[in-house]
Amino acid sequence: MSVLSGILIGMAALAVLALLSGVLLGFASVRFKVEKDPVVEQIDSILPQTQCGQCGYPGCRPYAEAIANGDEINKCPPGGQATIDQLADLLGREAKPLDGAHGVEDVKKVAFIREDECIGCTKCIQACPVDAILGATKQMHTVIADECTGCDLCVEPCPVDCIDMLPVQQGPERWKWDLQQIPVVEVSDTSDLATEVKA
């Protein structure tokens, strides 16, 4: 009897313990659920979002999905080597040079419509992936330069070839420093200097 009751008590205790920890674990898994940032999101946030399609996919996100599924990381000319390096870092893959078949790295450009020549056909508007072209049928179109990603997609559809891709103007605000530090040295005898200048 006593042996049996001992076993029973043991079993009951274990059962209660199991139930408790089960409930606890279940609660924890719901309460502290971690929404892991999916790798596609991370890849997409590295890509330059020009939506140019030079990689062969219709936009940056599809390419991000393709990379996540094992496609090469060197197919993005607008991002260039910097993007490839970042992707290699993120995915633990080898950083390769840019695949020349998809284009070459170029300076940042922005589309410009020669407005006199525009016939208002709206074809470029339909081609623009980021809605950066304003205009209507039979009305002159223009590019919102700040929103243009320089993807080049509007150039081809233009029946009158009035779209140019111009390099982005670089103002002093975004200029990258390139100068030698100006040193100050102890000048012991200035009179000496003055004579040299006069000489």
């Binding site: 330059p48 979002q49 939506q51 980021v130 929103e147 103002g171 100068l179 530090q181 040299e196 200048v197």
Partner: protein, 662 residues
């Protein structure tokens, strides 16, 4: 110095509790001075230019006035080429976000608006107004304020903004924006330290115009409502200290403090620490710790603006260096070229001479001399050959730590250097690169002659660029997604519309069939008048008849109207096509048919249309040729799209209208 630091993260004044604050204020009142970490003692070389009074130069023949001379957005131009302007007249309307206007420094004629090299290390061109001066220096309308104590601070701040006043210490931050503040402040600091070697603009200004600066301080006191004013002057300027002490005598609220000469004690954060012992938090602003700081030159400009209604049109510029015959200080009109100033000071150029804008520590070598003086330029330094020799070859860092000893911001310069070389931007952030004030003390003491600040500036520019690119990419992504959603929605709507139309058609057909069936039913019904018919059948027949009648009436009407519409549309489209075809195919005919009614404008439009069509055709031909050349056997298909696309090309609107009525 680093006004551009993020203004979003503002700590409340939690720097002191009440007891500590009282003790701190008592210490400040007692005249205690603190020390900031690090600092260096470079040769001063101030006596080169501070011996002579501030000179007035003859009005230059030409001024180059950049439309943006402060930190912020440029304003909109409000004068045109050819306009005559008077001295002090606004040339631009203030830009958005507390942008500042620029004013004509003298009277003359606007001769051009061009892209001209800027007073910037890059000398990249910026939009610049060229003013041909008439030499008469005629003032336009001025709006002096007779008694500023009658105005509240908002009105005075608006006046100061209208006068285009920016901080004259070097950063050119809009003064009005700095003054517009709602946080409680307890000290106004007037910065007359001028710690950088060679520069003596503030020194001379304080010696010659202490009363004006003093009035400016009183105005600032009135605007900010701060009672205590500390005027800080480095102890290597005894004359300026004496002049300011004399001017402030009898005013208990203003104290002139002689601070020890250490570079860079004139930095905003460093000076605050020296005078009050308080530290501006990283990513914070002086107002977070209850301090407002203005430069002496700014105080004087405010005095001129309020008492005389003079907008900021000139500033004191130090012209110094051994390559000048007459070094000194000068009231330079804004927009005066560096070349003119150097000529005024007797510049003796020599091969490979360099001219520095700003001081030797924080200034930059000018790539060219035709750049103009702007609101933030305080010094032009033309050193002799041996005075400032070019840096020697950069050698390897030996980790001596001398740079860390002198850093006034308590950073680790050698660590930042390694990280900057590695382009490790996360690491740079971790080591607080943003707190670097680029004073150059680390590079000054570096035994390996490493241009450390150069690395930091590049890294900062890269990080900023990265941030801008990221921001742009986010916007592009957002727009791309929005467009995708819109296209999807439009497709869905079109599908639904088609579905509804199809359903309506089916319904109409079904009803017509039903009506026809009913009509067929009723005929035999009436013919066979069998007695065995029930009442219900009769009623049903009657309903069917009524329906048939209704359908019969409605159907033809609807059909007719629809047909009419289609015909009308076709007619319209045809008319349009004909109208377009006429001038296109037979251009000679058009003027014949209506010579009187063909205005020149229309002709030019036709020409343009023709030109466009010609271009399009040329493009097509070129494409076709290229295709044919590359794929000889596929010459026929390449012809095909040409023909079909030609049709779509001619009248896009005609096509559209037809499609719309479908």
């Amino acid at each position: 110095m680093s006004h551009s630091a993020s203004q979003t993260e503002r700590a409340a004044i939690t720097y002191f509790n009440a007891d500590d604050l009282a003790r701190n204020q008592a210490e400040i009142a007692a005249g205690k001075l603190w020390r900031f970490p690090g600092g260096i003692h470079p040769p001063q070389r101030k006596d080169l230019a501070n011996q002579t009074p501030i000179a007035r130069m003859p009005i230059p023949k030409r001024l180059w006035i950049p439309l943006k001379q402060h930190i912020g957005q440029p304003g909109q131009l409000i004068v045109q080429v050819g306009d005559s302007v008077l001295k002090g007249q606004a040339l631009t309307a203030p830009g958005p976000n507390a942008g500042l206007a620029v004013h004509a420094p003298t009277s003359g004629r606007v001769s051009a608006i061009v892209e001209h090299p800027s007073a910037h290390p890059s000398a990249l061109p910026v939009t610049t107004l060229i003013l041909d001066t008439d030499g008469e220096d005629t003032w336009g309308q001025r709006h002096p304020i007779a008694d500023y104590t009658q105005l509240d601070s908002a009105e005075l701040i608006a006046h100061i903004a209208q006068c285009g006043i920016a901080g004259l210490g070097g950063a050119a931050f809009p003064t009005a924006q700095k003054l517009a503040n709602s946080q409680p402040l307890d000290y106004l600091i007037i910065n007359g330290v001028e710690c950088e070697p060679y520069i003596v603009s503030d020194d001379r200004l304080m010696r010659e115009h202490p009363a004006g600066i003093m009035r400016g301080i009183k105005i600032l006191q009135h605007i900010s409502g701060i009672e205590q004013v500390l005027v800080a002057i480095e102890d290597n300027k005894p004359e300026a200290i004496k002049a300011m002490r004399d001017a402030c005598e009898g005013d208990a609220s203003i104290q002139v403090r002689a601070v020890p000469t250490v570079y860079p004690s004139g930095g905003e954060r460093q000076l605050i620490q020296v005078l009050t012992g308080r530290q501006v938090p990283a990513n914070g602003l002086p107002k977070d710790i209850g301090v407002l700081m203005q430069n002496t030159g700014t105080a004087y400009a405010i005095y001129r603006a309020v008492m005389f209604g003079e907008p900021l049109h000139e500033r004191v510029v130090t012209l110094t260096g051994e390559a000048l015959e007459r070094p000194g200080t000068v009231w330079a009109p804004l927009g005066c070229s560096v070349e003119d100033l150097l000529t005024f000071a007797g510049y003796r150029a020599y091969p490979k001479a360099k001219v520095i804008m700003g001081g030797p520590m924080m200034g930059f070598t000018l790539p060219r001399l035709d750049v103009p003086i702007v609101k933030g330029s305080n010094c032009i330094l033309a050193p002799a050959k041996k005075e400032l020799p070019t840096a020697g070859a950069e050698m390897a860092c030996i980790r001596c730590g001398a740079c860390a000893d002198v850093c006034p911001a308590s950073l680790l310069p050698q660590q930042l250097y390694w990280l900057a070389r590695d382009h490790d931007y996360d690491g740079l952030r971790q080591y607080n690169l943003a707190d670097c004030i680029e004073c150059g003390a680390c590079a000054f003491v570096c035994p390996s002659e490493i241009p450390l600040v150069h690395y930091y500036r590049q890294a900062k520019a890269d990080m900023r660029e990265q941030y801008i690119e990221k921001h742009k990419a986010d916007i592009a992504k957002e727009r791309f997604e929005a467009r995708k959603a819109r296209l999807e929605r439009e497709k869905q709507e079109r599908l639904e519309k088609h579905q509804r139309a199809a359903e309506a058609r089916q319904k109409a057909v079904a009803e017509r069939e039903a009506a026809a069936a009913a009509a067929a039913d009723t005929v035999p019904d009436t013919a066979n008048t069998n007695a065995g018919e029930s009442k219900q059948d009769k009623i049903q027949a009657a309903i069917a008849r009524a329906k048939a009648k209704k359908a019969g009436q409605a159907a033809p009407a609807a059909e007719a109207s629809k047909q009419d519409k289609i015909q009308a549309a076709i007619a319209r489209a045809k008319a349009k096509k004909a109208a377009q075809a006429a001038p296109n195919s037979e251009p000679a005919e058009a003027p014949q048919t209506s010579p009187a009614e063909a205005p020149a404008a229309e002709l030019s439009k036709q020409d343009r249309v023709q030109a466009a069509i010609a271009r399009a055709k040329a493009k097509k031909a070129a494409q076709a040729a290229a295709l044919a050349a590359s794929e000889n056997q596929e010459a026929q298909p390449s012809n095909k799209p040409e023909a079909s696309e030609d049709a779509t090309l001619t009248p896009p609107s005609g096509e559209k209208t037809e499609r719309g009525h479908d």
